[in-house]
Every structure is written in C-alpha cells, then in structure tokens.
C-alpha cells in the first residue's frame, strides 16, 4: 500500500471505528484519536521527505481517475494539517466543553482525513470530493459541540455558506476541467489557462469564491464569529483557524499560481478583497468583548493578509501569503487553545469578568503573549516575517493604498490584542477567580509546541521558507535570499511606528474607558459614525448570509411559488373551468324541452341535406 494513503485512510478508518466504541469507555477514544493523528503526522513527514510515487486509481468511470500526488506544496500542506490535528487531539484530551468525546474525535479525525485528501489530490474532482466532504463534519462539529439551539442554527449557517460556495467551486471546477480538457491539476499547470475569454474568467471567479470562502474571507466569514460563541474552543482552534485557512489559501494559491495566469484586473480584485477583509474584520475584532469571538474576527482578518499576499501575484507576496497561512494557523490555534484553557479554568470567556490570570496560569499566559505578539507582527516572531513579505509584495505592485490598509489592520490587531491580553492576564483578578489554576499538561503541551513553532519560525524564518515555501513555488524563480532574515528596510520603521501607535491608543483607551481594559476600545467603538456602523453590524445588517436569508430568499421563493401556482392553475383550474363552462352550457341547453329538440333535429336534418345531399 502506498504510504500516501495513510494520512487519509487512517484517520477516516479510526474515526469510523470510534463510532463503534461505547461512549462509556474512558480515554480509549481519546487515545485512539491521538494515536491516529500521530501516525498520520509521521506518515506526512515521511511523505514530505520521500515524495512517494503518485497514486492512480480508477474512479469516476474511466475518464476521471483518482489521483494523489505529493508535490512540494501539497506535502507541506499535509504536514501542517497533520501537525495541527495532532496538536488539537492532544489538547482536547482533557477539554470538557467539546460535546461528546466520541463525536468530537470522530469529527476531528474525519476532518483531518478529508483535509489530507484535499491536500494530496491532484485531480480536481477528487479535491472537490474531499473539500466538499468537509461540509458534513463542519456541520456536525458545530452542531454537536453544544447542546443548544443556537449551536444548531450556527451549524446550519456555516453549512449553508460553505455549501453554496462549494457549489460555486464545483461549477468552477467543471468549467475549468472543460476548458482545460483535463481534471488533473498537474496537467493544467503544465499548460496554464488564461483569463482571456468569458468562460475561463467565470471559472476562475467561481474557484476564487470557493477558495476564499473556505479560507473565511469577507463576505463569507460571518459564520465564524457565531461559531466562536456557539461551539468549543478546540473546534475554533482546529477548523476555522487552521484547516480552513490552510485549504482555502492552498487552493487560492493553486488556482492563482498554477492553474491560471492572472491579469491586472484580477490582481486588483484579489488585493481589494484582501484589504477589505483585513479592515472589516479587524474593526469588528477590536470592539469584541468575548475572548473567542475576538479571536474569531482576527481569524478572518488575517485571511485578508494571505489573500492580499497572493493577490500581489509577485513571488514575494505569494511566498508571504503562504508563509502567513502556516504562521497564522500556528498562532491562531495557539490563541484559541489559550482561550479554551482560560474558559476551562476560569469558567467564562467574557473579558469584563476576567483579569489578572497571568499568575494563576503562567504557561498559558506566556503562550498567549508569544502568539499575540506573533499575530500582531512583532519582530522577531513568525508573524512579523510573513507580514513583512506581504507588505513588500504589496509595495512592489505599486498600490500603496493596500499597503496602508494592511498597516492599519496591523495597528488595530495589535491594539485589540493589547486590550485582550490586558483584560485577561493582567489587571485586577476578580473575586471569583482566586482559586483558578493552570490548565492540565495535555492542554499545555500543544500550546507550548505551537508557541515554540512561532518562535522558531520567527528566528529561523529561513527554514520554513527554504524547506517548504520556496520549493512549493519552485516554478517562480524566487530569489530566496530576499525572503528571510533581517533586511535593512523602511518597513521595520513603519512597524515600529505601528507598535508605538497601538500602545498609545491602548493607553488612551484605558483612560477613556475608566481604567477597565475590557473597555479600552470604547473610544473607537462609540466614536461618531463608527458607533452607528457598529450598531448596524451588531444587528447583522452587514451579514451577507442573514441578509440573503431575510431579504432575498423569501421574496424570490415566494415569486417562484406564485409561478408554480400559475402553472398549477393552467393545468388544474383552467381546463376544469373550460370544461365546466362547456358542461354548464350543455346542461342549460339540454333543458328537456321537446320542441327545442325537435327543432334541432329538423334543422340539423335540413342543413345536412343541403350540405351533403347534393341539393345545390
């Protein structure tokens, strides 16, 4: 058996096996899940190192075969997926708020298996198969994580948003496959498509919708904050923070770099999308009052950087985007894990009720600090380097406005993490949390590992780039030297300014908010214009999903229903009415009157004789 199948089949089979295990068994489920994830990780490492032979299998008829290829990009992605799966499995070992353990691990393993499949698939149909297959587990993951109606509703929202955009992806794949004449991505990349004519542009746009929606970018992101409230921390750490970003950005890069040759217009579209995502989400994140919810908006916001990076279409930007993808998964998972720890230990995620936990939970606090610094782009952590690459790429395109937007996003990111960190780990500890202790080891280990990676990829930024990213972009002739290490650059200067500005803002906010760190964003939250905007956002006016469901779907379906009723009328009431008319006329005519009948007979006979009798 080809080793390439292990990361896919092992989690899937283990997941199915879990379903057979009784809920009552202790630790068996958890251990099985962790074991499968660990073995998968080993296999992934192996795959990255040896690049096993592609696997072909007859699949959908004879025309479309099931092909798995581990090229640099996909092997790298597979490694990331496996790593995060293992981390979350371990982390969830003693995490109570994850719903039924059996179903949690089932969902986790299935997600892992399908994500690995999507990463390894060379055939677009196979990729789509795994990609869309994730939908089911996305739904069950959210729906089963809490036993509330809100969870079900959010699960439905997540499912519908992703399913609709996946359908777009499906259509895009079919058109791409048709114009390329093949479904194999490696074949297409050998002979890339252009956006010259309508169909291919249409195809790319559909693929783009699928990819950015999976990555959780604006305007398809709205389920993520909801999920943050209605589902568990491990889920947030795993799916929206890690797996979805990895797959979405992976396929965006695939499509933009390997499948299509993009043009300037599309570049602008992508970059705008990235910038808008950054700003909109970070503005929302900034004013959040809930630990996970705040993080979830950041998860959206950070996607913007990746899209911006890939949208630059220059090697530096793309490398930055991909690097940011892996970095983001690392620190955002880590952050969600800290959120989970805090929630488990302190019993709440509301910022106003938390405070001063650093002493009680020093390891968690340290992990938080590292990850928060990384996400805020503070040197020398990994986030800094990837963001720098994205900035550089953006500047290279000449669109300074996007650079400024990204920097503004950076500023707000840092500001919001200052608020978050201050609220949770510093300041006065509330009365009820005197007894709070550090999280158990099984939760700390993955956090520490991820924090460690943040640091390692920061100081040793050349290693991930050299090992993973540069090979992934092998065709682009990147001057790898440019991609890592410290270069004397005006960007450092800018970043220092941003950091200073953020700190000042925080201090100003603290004083304005009466010294309460959780209110340190109120001066922006309740600023003129913004206040109204935020109020609207709270009412979900900007939520594409809610608006569509409330404003578009009912009238459209009602109109279609009316059309349906019209056709019903034409086949039911109309012929019935016509028949009734004739039948009624006949009933009135046949009134039993003998002279009428006699006249009819004689007149009929006369006409008959005149017409047929030859009586000219």
């Amino acid at each position: 058996m080809n080793i390439i199948l292990i990361p896919i089949l092992l989690p899937l089979l283990t997941g199915l096996a879990l379903l057979l295990i009784s809920e009552k068994t202790k630790y068996l489920k958890e251990l099985l899940g962790i074991g499968a994830a660990a073995v998968s990780l080993l296999a992934a490492v192996n795959i990255l190192l040896v690049h096993p032979a592609p696997l072909h299998h007859h699949w959908l008829g004879t025309a479309i075969s099931f092909t798995l290829i581990a090229d640099n990009l996909s092997a790298f992605l597979l490694l990331a997926v496996s790593l995060f799966s293992l981390a979350i499995s371990v982390y969830s070992f003693s995490m109570p708020n994850k719903g039924s353990a059996k179903w949690f691990y089932f969902n986790l393993l299935m997600t892992q298996g399908f994500a690995a499949g999507a990463a390894l698939s060379d055939n677009m149909v196979a990729m789509l198969f795994f990609w869309e297959g994730l939908l089911v587990f996305l739904y069950t993951f959210i729906a089963l994580s809490q036993n509330t109606h809100a969870a079900k509703r959010t699960a439905m929202k997540a499912f519908l948003i992703n399913a609709v955009t996946d359908l777009c992806l499906l259509a895009g794949v079919t058109i791409t496959g048709y114009i390329a004449g093949t479904m194999s991505m490696s074949d297409i990349s050998a002979n890339k498509l252009t956006l010259d004519y309508g169909w291919s542009l249409f195809a790319y746009v559909l693929l783009l919708i699928g990819a950015v929606s999976k990555a959780g970018a604006f305007p398809f992101h709205t389920w993520i904050p909801d999920a943050a409230t209605d589902s568990s921390a491990p889920f947030m750490a795993y799916v929206p923070a890690a797996i979805d970003k990895l797959l979405g950005i992976y396929f965006l890069a695939r499509a933009s770099v390997y499948l299509f040759t993009l043009n300037g217009t599309m570049q602008l579209v992508l970059m705008s999308l990235g910038a808008v995502t950054i700003l909109v989400a970070v503005m929302m994140a900034f004013v959040q009052k809930d630990y996970k919810r705040l993080l979830s908006y950041h998860a959206v916001s950070q996607t913007g950087y990746m899209i911006l990076g890939i949208g630059t279409l220059n090697p530096v930007g793309i490398a930055g985007g991909l690097f940011h993808m892996i970095n983001h998964a690392t620190y955002k998972s880590c952050l969600f894990m800290t959120a989970g720890s805090v929630e488990r230990q302190a019993g709440t995620g509301e910022l106003s009720k938390l405070g001063g936990l650093f002493r009680a939970m020093p390891v968690t606090g340290v992990c938080f600090l590292i990850a928060a610094a990384a996400i805020s782009g503070i040197a020398p952590l990994n986030g800094f380097f990837s963001k720098e690459l994205v900035y550089k790429g953006t500047l290279d395109t000449g669109y300074t406005v996007f650079f400024l937007a990204a920097e503004l996003g950076s500023f707000l990111t840092l500001a919001s993490f200052l608020k978050l960190g201050h609220s949770v780990f510093f300041g006065a500890r509330p009365e009820g949390m005197k007894e709070t202790k550090e999280a158990p080891f099984s939760m700390l280990l993955p956090m520490l590992t991820l924090a460690g990676i943040c640091v390692a990829f920061g100081f040793g930024a050349r290693f991930p780039i050299e090992w993973f990213i540069a090979p992934s972009l092998a065709g682009m002739n990147i001057e790898t030297g440019l991609l890592w290490g410290f270069h004397a650059d005006k960007l450092y200067f800018v970043s220092v300014i941003v950091i200073l500005a953020a700190v000042m803002n925080h201090l100003f906010g603290l004083s304005a908010g009466g010294g309460k760190p959780s209110k340190s964003s109120d001066h922006i939250h309740y600023a003129p214009v913004l206040k109204e905007t935020y109020a609207l956002a709270e009412r979900k006016v900007f939520d594409l999903y809610e608006q569509t469901m409330d404003r578009v779907v009912p009238p459209v379906s009602l109109a279609l229903f009316k059309v349906d009723r019209f056709f019903d009328w034409t086949i039911d009431a109309l012929p019935g009415g016509v028949a009734s008319f004739f039948g009624g006329a006949s009933r009135r005519f046949h009134n039993g009157s003998y002279p009428l009948y006699m006249a009819l007979t004689i007149a009929g006979a006369a006409v008959y004789i005149l017409l047929a009798g030859g009586l000219k």
Binding site: R587, H590, N591, G592, S593, Y594, P595, M598, A599, I602
Partner: protein, 101 residues
C-alpha cells in the same frame, strides 16, 4: 316540369306540413297526426318512384309492408299516449321536461 317533379314537389310540401305539425303542436295526438302525414308522403314518394321506373308491383309490395309497420307504430304511439295520459293527466308533450341537464 315533369309530372314526377310536380308530384315530388307536392310530396315535399306535405312532408313540410307534417314536420311543421310535429314542431308546433303540443298535443301528442297531433304529433302522431304529423307523423302520419309525413309517412303518407313517404309512401307517395315510393309509389311515385315505382311508377316512374315501371316498377309498381315492387313498390306496392313495399307499401303493404309499410302500412303494416305504420299501424303498429301508430298503435304503439297511441299506447304511449294513453299511458302518459293516465300518469300525468295530460297529453301535452311540451310538459315532459323532467329529464334534463
């Protein structure tokens, strides 16, 4: 105009009279009388046609049969009339309009 045409012209008028009677009359007796008038005219047409083609014997044979039929038909009609009269106390066929729709 030949005699034949004249005969048939008058036959047509008699038939017209008979049908007019059936159309205009309410009384079942007059209906029967109209019917008789029409069948008389029909007999005349047969004998006239027989005479024209020198086939009188054959025509007579037909007419004898027709007379037998006529008697039975009239008897049946009158029987129905009487039965109707016993049932409804009237011989007005226009009042018979209970079957309709």
């Amino acid at each position: 105009m030949s005699t034949f045409a004249m005969e048939w012209y008058l036959i047509a008028i008699i038939i017209f009279t008979g049908f007019y009677c059936m159309l205009a009359s309410r009384s079942i007796v007059r209906q029967l009388i109209g019917l008789e008038i029409v069948s008389k005219a029909a007999m005349l047409s047969v004998i006239s046609a027989g005479a024209l083609t020198d086939n009188l014997v054959y025509a007579q044979a037909l007419i004898i049969t027709m007379i037998v039929i006529e008697v039975v038909v009239v008897a049946a009609g009158l029987a129905l009339l009487v039965k109707n009269f016993r049932l409804h106390g009237s011989a007005d066929i226009w009042k018979l309009d209970s079957l309709k729709g």
